[in-house]
């Protein structure tokens, strides 16, 4: 009882990843591991050699232990256990350490302690450990500063490793390839057949009947022909033989036709079922893709996942169309043929089975060689394709630097490689294939010779021997089918696994169960102590607090990469912050309903996407029900109306993929019109006018000023003239808020904003001076 209590207390406290055997080891060093506040596992020593490294801290000190870890396989246990040894342990008194810092290098990171203003290296780790170690450092710093641990720190993500086998999950979707039940994937895969069960049952039935016909056919065509009709020993008259022949021919035709009809029947049903099933799969994938967040799409691994969706869907498609339906048919054929072969002569059949292994061995050997060669050709071809697309996309640059010959050289090198790989395959094919054919020929001749002896000995008839040889050829079909269907099967299951991952993926931003609906939605934004990072240990937003009152305009200024757009993304809740809160009308946006939040926030961002369709469709995207007069009014407000009218098809001009190409500024104006028509309470303009000339920008600002009434506007820009109308300005640099105030106030303050303002107005002035001079010069040359 006491033991259990202690265990529970320890469990509650030891938030971290130290395994039990390590904790025991540390206990033996007189450390009270029950008191550990946080712990982490590193993988290097201070000199960058791989070793086991454990970090922990409690109320008294910071402990860094180094050691060795060896996996020991125990007989009765399925998964190996690690034997740990300690090689070094250092303890720093807590009061000496002011801060823990992390530095990132090329492939490693370093944990550094600040002691009395001096930096001291503690340990190093692989770059992949940065996230874990950063959490450790954050937690430690919170403790030192007497702060409560941030909410996200209290739940430590120890689920990066599969609880069953201890292997690292290959990605964030937490599916362990070792432990995932293949059967469950297969079950789900076949689950797509649900709804088509009667058809599938019928298909199977027809296939089995068709296969039976196919298998029986040689029995008539060969055995009866030779033994009954053509047999010289048959005492029947030649008329009777001819009559028998007639019956035989009729039977043959009958079987053939029946076989054909059944085949046609199941293929006809199959082609009706398959497209519907594939449609169901695609709809399911697309639905789940829409559910996922922006983070999912921009994260590296999942981006690739998307690229593969098409390939994976195809793999499954072909397996279902060409593979799966024929498994039963081929199985029936194979069993039927074997059965008949044994019926003809079990001795001959046993002999054949004995001769099979060398052929199979040769086939497997050949397969492995060809697969490697095949891959080599594929890889070289892929290189060539990527080089070609490089070349086509870069034509302007190639021409501009007249590098055609160099490109040609590059191309011939790569295509030489392709040629060599293909030659090698052809050579191997030319030696291996005849070899295999010869072997099969020799073996079947051997069977024939033995069979002939049986005929002479009277054990079987000549018709039976010939039928046997026909079956021998026929059985090759199912054998080959099963040889590659397993491969195909594995690939389809693999693809299905990935598709199910997308279908099962949990969006990292979720709506609360009972979301708050604000009534009315005023649009008062309050940002407090906001922190955000896309990658661990690379903070983008560092504790920013801001306020945008309802109906006012807030301008955010800063250099490129200062974190301005990130703030916009966070307000729209495309990402969730690491720490801090964003409140709208006093409510945390995490508690708001998605529908209300997105409906009331209009985001005009730097990268504009126009969907395939007309300009009117694109403007109406956020408000499908808008009338044409509303669309035109919105376009006018966005200064887009004039240029749209100039286009031959005006508002019905097709844009997007393959449509009319528009300039950056024109696209921006359409996307502003889109936001205007949405009529949101909060309008975020993220460099929305950056690609426009100053005059157009002015006219948009004029219309936006009219639209601003009753709307909170957040304008992000590096061009300061854009922000002249802002009620408040926030200057952001390197993720922190540098200055905050009104335009006039900031100018008076003579700080960073003043500096930037002066540079911009001066360069504008300089440009106009240069402009005047050049006109003067031009005048002179005219004279």
């Amino acid at each position: 009882m006491k033991h259990k209590k202690r265990k529970d207390a320890a469990k509650a406290k030891r938030r971290g990843t130290l395994p039990k055997n390590v904790l025991n080891l540390l206990e033996s060093q007189n450390l009270r591991t029950d008191d550990f506040i946080f712990s982490a596992v590193g993988d290097m020593d201070n000199d960058g050699n791989y070793c086991a490294n454990w970090l922990a801290f409690d109320d008294k000190g910071l402990y860094i232990a180094f050691g060795t870890e060896e996996t020991v396989k125990k007989k009765k246990r399925k998964f190996p256990e690690a034997a740990v040894k300690l090689t070094g342990l250092s303890a720093l008194p807590l009061e000496d350490v002011e801060e823990l810092k992390i530095e990132r290098y090329v492939t490693t990171g370093r944990l550094i302690a600040v002691e009395k203003g001096e930096e001291r290296p503690l340990t190093r780790f692989s770059i992949g450990k940065t996230g874990d170690i950063q959490k450790f450092a954050d937690c430690f710093n919170a403790k030192i500063n007497g702060k409560a641990l941030a909410s996200w720190l209290t739940v430590f993500d120890d689920t990066l490793y599969c609880p069953k086998c201890g292997e690292r999950y290959p990605d964030s979707r937490k599916v362990c390839p070792n432990c995932v039940k293949k059967s469950s994937t297969i079950k789900r895969l076949f689950g797509f057949f649900n709804g088509f069960l009667p058809q599938m049952g019928l298909i199977l039935l027809l296939q089995i009947i068709a296969s039976c016909f196919g298998v029986i056919l040689p029995k008539f065509s060969t055995e009866m022909l030779f033994d009954d009709v053509l047999n010289a020993d048959n005492p029947d008259s030649s008329e009777a033989k001819l009559a028998a022949l007639g019956v035989l021919v009729l039977m043959l035709i009958g079987i053939r036709v029946a076989d054909l009809l059944f085949r046609l029947g199941f293929e006809w049903i199959l082609t009706g079922v398959m497209p519907k099933m594939i449609y169901n799969i695609k709809v399911q994938i697309f639905t789940s893709m829409q559910r996922l967040t922006v983070g999912f799409y921009s994260s590296k691994q999942t981006g690739q996942l998307m690229d593969r969706v098409t390939g994976d869907a195809n793999n499954i498609y072909w397996f279902f169309v060409d593979g799966a339906p024929f498994i039963v048919m081929n199985a029936v054929r194979m069993i039927g043929i074997l059965l008949l072969m044994f019926l003809i002569s079990w001795k001959l059949s046993l002999l054949t089975l004995l001769l099979l292994p060398p052929i199979v061995a040769l086939a497997v050997f050949g397969d492995s060689i060809f697969r490697r060669l095949h891959h080599r050709i594929w890889a070289q071809n892929a290189r060539m394709t990527s080089m070609l697309s490089d070349n086509i996309n870069g034509q302007r640059v190639i021409k501009a630097f007249s590098r055609e010959n160099a490109e040609l050289e590059r191309f011939s090198t790569i295509s030489r490689n392709v040629r060599d790989a293909q030659l090698e395959q052809a050579n191997k094919e030319n030696t291996l294939f005849p070899l295999m054919t010869a072997l099969v020929l020799i073996l079947s001749t051997f069977v024939l010779v033995v069979g002939a002896r049986f005929v002479i000995g009277g054990e079987i008839t000549i018709g039976q021997l010939l039928t046997y040889t026909v079956y021998l050829t026929m059985i090759q079909g199912p054998i080959e089918f099963f040889m590659w269907v397993f491969n195909w099967w594995a690939r389809a299951v693999d693809s299905a696994q990935r598709l199910f991952e997308i279908i099962d993926a949990k969006p990292d931003i979720t709506e609360q169960d009972n979301p708050t609906i604000l009534n009315p939605f005023r649009g008062d934004i309050e940002i407090s102590e906001l922190e955000f990072e896309y990658e661990p240990a690379v903070p983008i937003i560092k504790k920013i607090s801001l306020r945008a009152e309802a109906g006012k305009m807030l301008g955010i200024v800063g250099k490129t990469g200062a974190g301005k757009s990130t703030i916009a993304n966070l307000i729209s809740r495309l990402y969730d912050p690491k720490a801090g809160v964003i409140r709208i009308d006093g409510t945390d946006i995490k508690e708001l309903s998605f529908a209300q939040l997105r409906k009331n926030i209009g985001l005009v961002s730097q990268d504009i996407y126009l969907f395939t369709g007309t300009i009117a469709d694109n403007i109406r995207y956020a408000n499908i029900g808008a009338s044409y007069s509303e669309v035109i009014a919105a376009a006018k407000a966005a200064s887009a109306h004039d240029f749209i009218l100039k286009l031959p098809d005006a508002y019905e001009t097709r844009v997007g993929n393959g449509g009319q190409s528009l300039s950056g500024g024109e696209k921006q104006r359409i996307s502003i019109a889109r936001a205007v028509l949405q009529n949101p309470k909060i309008l975020i303009l993220d460099e929305a006018t950056a690609a426009m000339d100053t005059a157009t920008e002015r006219s948009i600002q004029e219309s936006l000023r009219q639209l601003k009434a009753g709307r909170t506007t957040i304008a992000i820009a590096h061009r300061l003239s854009t922000l002249r109308d802002a009620d408040y300005l926030a200057v952001v640099d390197d993720g922190t808020l540098v200055e905050y105030g009104t335009f006039a106030g900031l100018i008076q303050q003579k700080g960073a904003f003043y500096k930037q303002y002066k540079i911009q107005s001066q360069s504008l002035a300089a440009v106009s001076i240069i402009g005047e001079e050049s006109t003067v010069q031009a005048d002179k040359t005219d004279e």
Binding site: Y105, T108, E118, S126, G128, A382, Q497, R498
Partner: protein, 177 residues
């Protein structure tokens, strides 16, 4: 310096020029906590960082010395020009920052449901890594260098893939791209 266009332009021109530092003017040292420091002229920098401009093709040339706020302090055109003492300190620091785990042997590659599990030797240390989506995370560069990026974002290198043992190459070849 007042904020005028002329001054800004001057600053920019200065930024664009790269003047190599006289190697004799640089004295590197190790501060008590083991970090690299630099004395250049009268200025003593308690901690500096080194950056290679060409980490692959010319690791010992064009080394930039920056202070902790990323301000350029010195540019070393060729490390060979440093005296032995300085060279040793610089090499040590560079080895630390530009540490590349180099794969010496590939024991096995297993494909399980789309993730590939590599059993590697890095020097004498055995390492098991998981790699997702090989087409992006296993790259063969023009000069036969192979880079493998595992699911944690760790990078591993094979300096010259044609020079690894035949057995390792055979294990890797089906996945090379």
């Amino acid at each position: 310096m007042s904020l005028t266009i002329e001054n800004l332009e001057k600053e920019n021109t200065k930024k664009m020029e790269t003047t190599f530092t006289d190697p004799a003017a640089c004295v590197f040292f190790k501060n008590p906590n083991g970090f690299l420091g630099l004395t250049i002229g009268d200025a003593v920098h308690k901690r500096v960082q080194l950056r290679r401009a060409l980490p692959f093709s010319a690791p010992a040339k064009y080394v930039f010395v920056l202070d902790m706020d990323d301000k350029e302090l010195a540019v070393l055109e060729d490390l060979a020009a440093l005296n032995a003492e300085n060279r040793a300190l610089v090499d040590e620091e560079l080895a630390m920052r530009y540490y590349y785990p180099e794969i010496t042997q590939i024991k096995s590659v297993k494909d399980k449901n789309g993730a590939h599990y590599f059993e590697l030797m890095i020097g004498s240390v055995k390492k098991n890594i998981a790699v997702k989506d090989l087409s992006k995370n296993l790259k063969q560069l023009e000069n036969n260098t192979v880079i493998i990026i595992d699911v944690d974002g760790n990078r591993y290198f094979i300096r010259d893939v044609l020079k690894v043992q035949r057995k390792s190459l055979r294990a890797l070849e089906p996945y090379l791209y």
